[in-house]
Assembly symmetry: C2
Homo-oligomer: 205 residues x 2
Amino acid sequence: MKADKIPDIIIGRLPVYLRALQRMADSGLKTTSSQELGEHVGISAAQIRKDISQFGDFGKQGTGYSIAYLLDKLREILKVDRIWDVVLVGAGDIGHALANYQGFKNRGFRIVMIFDNDKAKVGHKIGEFMIEDSEKIVEKVKSSGVKVAMLTVPASEAQGVADRLYQAGVKAILNYAPISLTAPNNVRVQYIDPATHLQRMTFYL
Amino acid sequence: MKADKIPDIIIGRLPVYLRALQRMADSGLKTTSSQELGEHVGISAAQIRKDISQFGDFGKQGTGYSIAYLLDKLREILKVDRIWDVVLVGAGDIGHALANYQGFKNRGFRIVMIFDNDKAKVGHKIGEFMIEDSEKIVEKVKSSGVKVAMLTVPASEAQGVADRLYQAGVKAILNYAPISLTAPNNVRVQYIDPATHLQRMTFYL
């Protein structure tokens, strides 16, 4: 099956496989099995075999998967075999955490700009980044060609900032504000909302 | 279908519906349709009807769903018609953001304890919470009976802290550390990892 026909639900699992495989590679492993990978990510071996078979025939019965090959293939499919520039809007606690986050390294992303609408923050630095005025989002982001953004502003401001990001050409937004964003059809939005994640687990308690 | 037979993939969407419906209720709406709800959450109307039909027959053709009834039902199914106490481990940037987060209100959760292993932080306050020593996790969490935890410690410490939380009787962990946790069968783990969320979107760019 061609990559562009892979169902979204499978695409959603691939980054999880990628993270687990990277961890295995870091610890010196060369090959793995669907059973072993399944134990790391909490997904059945059968499901993993099915998911991986969507994008080619690799891994032989009995010999397992080459971790390096699977990593290359997953990075290529997810388009993180390159580095995406990311703009961060909101320089609060979560903005600080993201600006200092070590988890983006070697995973396809780097923050290149930080905006906030608080004039008291503009001009100050977070790590190596100078906080810029949110009023300049459209101009700055458009001219830089950045397509990916992270939004860590209060819920009341999130839609307004998102609208500016769409106008600036951003096509993928990771939203930390606890509201659903209205977005054009050609823009993807993912949500990081701790309450939603917790609610998904209490069902089982 | 009984609630305990609902597939996990559907359970994962229910908190998203809950959030969108709550927002509609807050803005004064009384009824909605699968089409309207679908536009808010980016899921097809057909899928929403199918998901909601899993747990009973409500919503009549043509008249739509009662938002209040659907909210009650979803809260009951997800067991957030009560308040869950939550323990937070890690008093860094993300820990601060979570301690001050307004998004838990009326959504079934309240933080009751914060731990950190940094002696310089222990005894200091975040908002109304006194930071306690991570060495006391097992003792304090066990005696309080808390079942839900959020983990915002560095990757290198996450598994060790998780093991203490299992020992203390915690059954659901929301993990912000960028590593996969090994967990007993009776413990649920959800991950908040911005790189994984971003990777899920770059596929489409």
